[in-house]
Symmetry: C2
Subunit: 144 residues, 2 copies
């Protein structure tokens, strides 16, 4: 996908989220997110957390765990309508515990709102993709 400068700004905000996640950097998360009571986060397999306080606390707990997470986003698509943008991307994750490395895939929908000229994350919804179905992979262009 060729991105316009405006879309690139959204993609950069999206990248900042994954960098904060990979670095277990809670202060960076504070910059990435829009700190509102309607901010929402769906971790894979979880019900939605609502409100920045709850969302932030979940990141704090995740970052404090001994498991390290490295995430890279691919298949990034950006759409902007007014002051709202959303990104669809495939998360390739490596979670490292004391003894093993586990790799997994998740599909993410990340929604950003433009506030004071800056894109801030308001919704993160990630869900595990146990396997890429032939249908899904073909449609999404992963296998072509």
């Amino acid at each position: 996908m060729v991105l316009s400068p405006e879309q690139q700004a959204v993609a950069d905000a999206n990248d900042a989220f994954y960098t904060a996640l990979t670095n277990s950097d809670l202060q960076a998360m504070d910059e990435v997110w829009f700190p509102a009571d309607w901010t929402e986060c769906v971790h894979p397999g979880w019900a939605a957390l609502r409100g920045w306080d709850s969302v932030r606390e979940s990141w704090r707990l995740i970052f404090e765990s001994p498991t390290r997470i490295v995430v890279s986003a691919s298949e990034v698509r950006v759409r902007i309508v007014g002051d709202v943008a959303w990104v669809s991307c495939l998360e390739r994750m490596a979670t490292t515990d004391v003894e093993e490395i586990h790799t997994s895939l998740a599909q993410a929908t990340n929604l950003f709102v433009r506030h004071d000229g800056r894109w801030r994350m308001a919704v993160h919804h990630a869900s595990a993709v146990p396997f890429l179905t032939p249908h899904a992979t073909t449609e999404s262009g992963l296998v072509n």
Copy 2:
């Protein structure tokens, strides 16, 4: 959540989606969705399908299967910014096969865009919630 008239219109569009799904009604889905090449759908466990043609085909296949799906949405939250609205809700699903009924929960993020005064679905992201964690249920107000 007390809804404003504008939010209620979004909630109604969201209800129309679940009614179409429960009725396996592809023509109703045609009315619910915004038929664009940037429309996206994430079925639980799938990678994103992109473009209305792919999304519609997935619903056609789902509706043609012998499994019947009955879905009701709860914990509905609506947010509107300009001509974009998004809904967070918990899907309570009963899937009925020839021999058994299976119930499950999924978390959904549904995004709508306003076009000619009407809210049309542009993104549906649903993911299985295998169990409600004490943390998640408390935060989302499910258990209180």
